[in-house]
Amino acid sequence: MSEQRKVPASLAEEVLAEFEKDWRRELRKAVPVKERMKIARRPMPQRAPEARNRDFDEVNQGLTAEEAVLEARRCLDCAKPGCVAGCPVGIDIPTFVKLVEVGDFAAAAAKIRQANSLPAVCGRVCPQETQCEETCLLKKASGVAVAIGNLERFVSDTELAGGGAVVPGTPPPTGRKVAVVGAGPAGLTVAGELARLGHRVTVFEALHDAGGVLVYGIPEFRLPKSILVAEVAYLVRLGVEFRMNFIVGKTATIEDLRADGYEAFFIGSGAGLPNFMKVPGENLVGVYSANEYLTRVNLMRAYDFPRYDTPVFPGRRAAVIGGGNVAMDSVRTAKRLGAEKALIVYRRSRMEMPARIEEVHHAEEEGIEFHFLTVPTRYIGDERGRVKAMECLRMELGEPDASGRRRPVPVPGSEFITEVDLVVVAIGQSPNPLIAQTTPGLAVGKWGTIDVDWATMATSIPGVYAGGDIVRGGATVILAMGDARTAAAAMDKRLRDGGAG
């Protein structure tokens, strides 16, 4: 997922201007680099594994103000900050970190918000270790990067605790109507950016809560819903309108909305079509897609059944197939719902797992078992059609494949059967076809992703833009937000230029 980008000239200039301000110079002088490097990375306070793996309360507890200031002091405030280049949305990271160091948390929050509409979310779910923190100079110098993600979380949590972000003075309304399809990370970002510029934004969401994958996919113990509710409330204060339970492509098409006066569109409908392995027995009762399993638990709150009406199988022996963040979320959820054994079954080795390191550590601490180089070949059901066991095959690593990772190859005759009563298939998703099916002229790629011009995120239809998983197939929250920023800038330009082109 690591993607070193070129910092746009305007951002580089802004970062440099802040770097050269007097207070920054003085701060750099006040504490010598040697002193800064003596401070160890401040650990994220966490709830004990044996307590947290029984409930859905948040695992990470957040830094205290003292610890955050100390962590910020570790930052060397280097002249050519790699962190900025590693951030898909282009946050001026050194400036916000230094504002934390001097204790001006409100200014730090405002600085982040210039580039990121969902900082409390990103502070929790971004893969910082492959982005901003990977390119941190301190990491090169000492091996341990500044905890930028933890600081981002601290700053935005402090802001939320103080009543949330102050709505900036918005320019006079432009009177131009913008439709955003999908209230996920990409859609919320576009909505925030364009509302701030004075456009009239309506977000159309198919489900009944805003957030997309942040609300149906990522569990409460990693991203509490209250955080998302607060971020959405901020957008409402900015003037964004939300139409829930509205399925663009079904309830109304893009063309219908155009007839209703919408002039620009952003499609951020996500990767909403779960993949299965197409092995025998995959439709047995008790075999879920990760999307269904997590949606039942998170969005529908099946963990609180029967107070909430939606049920989910608790599972005594749960196997989750896959090695990404969604697999980690699923397996840790199964553990919390009472599984005695909760296993990850992954076809490659630990080295190749795409999940964030922190999630893997947390899962291990919580008693999750990892079965590497293993792939299910069929599921076996009982007389009622419920899964009772699965047959697996051992793999070994062969030559590198297109992704650069060594390709797993089956070990002949290594089949074995293991007892399971809950299986969650978390091997990725395909783009949801609803909009492409109902929008004539929308160019779509081989895998169903919407084709875009990456410089503007414009699709083949004038005025229609897209970003996030619907163009990438399956990526991260922050990459979706980066797309959204690009699209918002292009959409604003188009609306101001009078709608042509």
């Binding site: 439709n283 879920y288 897609s289 999307n291 029967p306 009406d309 076809p433």
Partner: protein, 276 residues
């Protein structure tokens, strides 16, 4: 939030729900469904669209009160709001000049088949309507369906309509009597599989409107997967209409029963809370 304009009991346990939903009313076509959730703690369930009024902007569904969600719906009335009434979902039923079409509906499916009957008739087909009820007093919407049908047939197990057999026998009789070009069935899984089995020997194309467990209804979760012709399909986006001769009925029965114990628990918990 979508407001209910009308909720009435048609016959014991079967209710009609008419909801203000102008966008859905404008868009919906025969064979499509809505996702409904009665309140914030509710479950999302699919309900077939039974009728609509584009001018008034309302959509009608008919449901059987069986589980917590439908029991909750059955207690609502005009003016009440629903947490969710979203759609229209699924692909519309195929409507064409087929010739003679037999439309079979059982239980809530008597209403669910209604828009298709109307559309097939408008498309110039000869339409036979077969409704199946357990007993005479459970028959509803005869007044709506009979005028649309070239022939209206009731199969009932109380003998009042000349028979005590389940629907399959009636279907076989009709197939033996005249040339049928196509059969469409909507109702419970047992009803639809019985119709499909009855037509299988003759090979008459039989389209069934499946109603598996769903969560989002937009293709996102895969709860509704069914095996059709050996391939996994999502009923919400690939259906709900499928070739009844290709559906893996045994799998569908098992998947429909997935949460049977939980449904009972949920209902008991709700009854204790609602009627202490």
């Amino acid at each position: 939030m979508p407001r209910i304009v009308r909720r009435e009991r048609l016959v014991p346990n079967i209710h009609l729900l008419e909801v203000e939903a102008p966008e859905i009313a404008r868009k919906c076509r025969p064979g499509q469904f809505v996702i409904v959730m009665p309140d914030a703690r509710g479950e999302r369930i699919p309900l077939s669209i039974a009728d609509w009024d584009r001018d008034r902007g309302t959509v009608v569904s008919v449901f059987q009160a069986v589980g917590t969600t439908t029991r909750k719906l059955a207690l609502l009335g005009a003016g009440d709001a629903l947490a969710i009434f979203a759609g229209p979902l699924g692909l519309p039923s195929e409507v064409g000049p087929f010739g003679t079409v037999l439309c079979a509906g059982g239980c809530y499916g008597i209403a669910a088949i209604h828009p298709l009957v109307r559309a097939l008739r408008e498309a110039g087909n000869r339409v036979l309507v077969l409704v199946d009820v357990k007993a005479d007093y459970l028959l509803y919407w005869r007044d709506r369906l009979e005028p649309l049908a070239d022939e209206f047939i009731v199969s009932s197990r109380d003998g009042l309509y000349g028979d005590t057999e389940f629907v399959g026998r009636r279907v076989r009789d009709i197939l033996g009597r005249e040339k049928i070009d196509r059969v469409a069935a909507a109702g419970c899984t047992y009803f639809m599989s019985s119709v499909a089995e009855a037509t299988r020997p003759s090979g008459v194309k039989t389209v069934v409107s499946l109603n598996p467990v769903m969560v989002d209804g937009t293709g996102m979760c895969g709860a509704c997967r069914v095996t059709v012709g050996g391939r996994t399909k999502f009923a919400c986006v690939d259906g709900p209409d499928f070739d009844g001769h290709l559906v893996d009925w045994a799998e569908l029965y098992a998947r429909r029963r997935s949460y049977f114990d939980d449904e009972v628990r949920s209902l008991c918990a709700w009854e204790e809370e609602r009627f202490p």
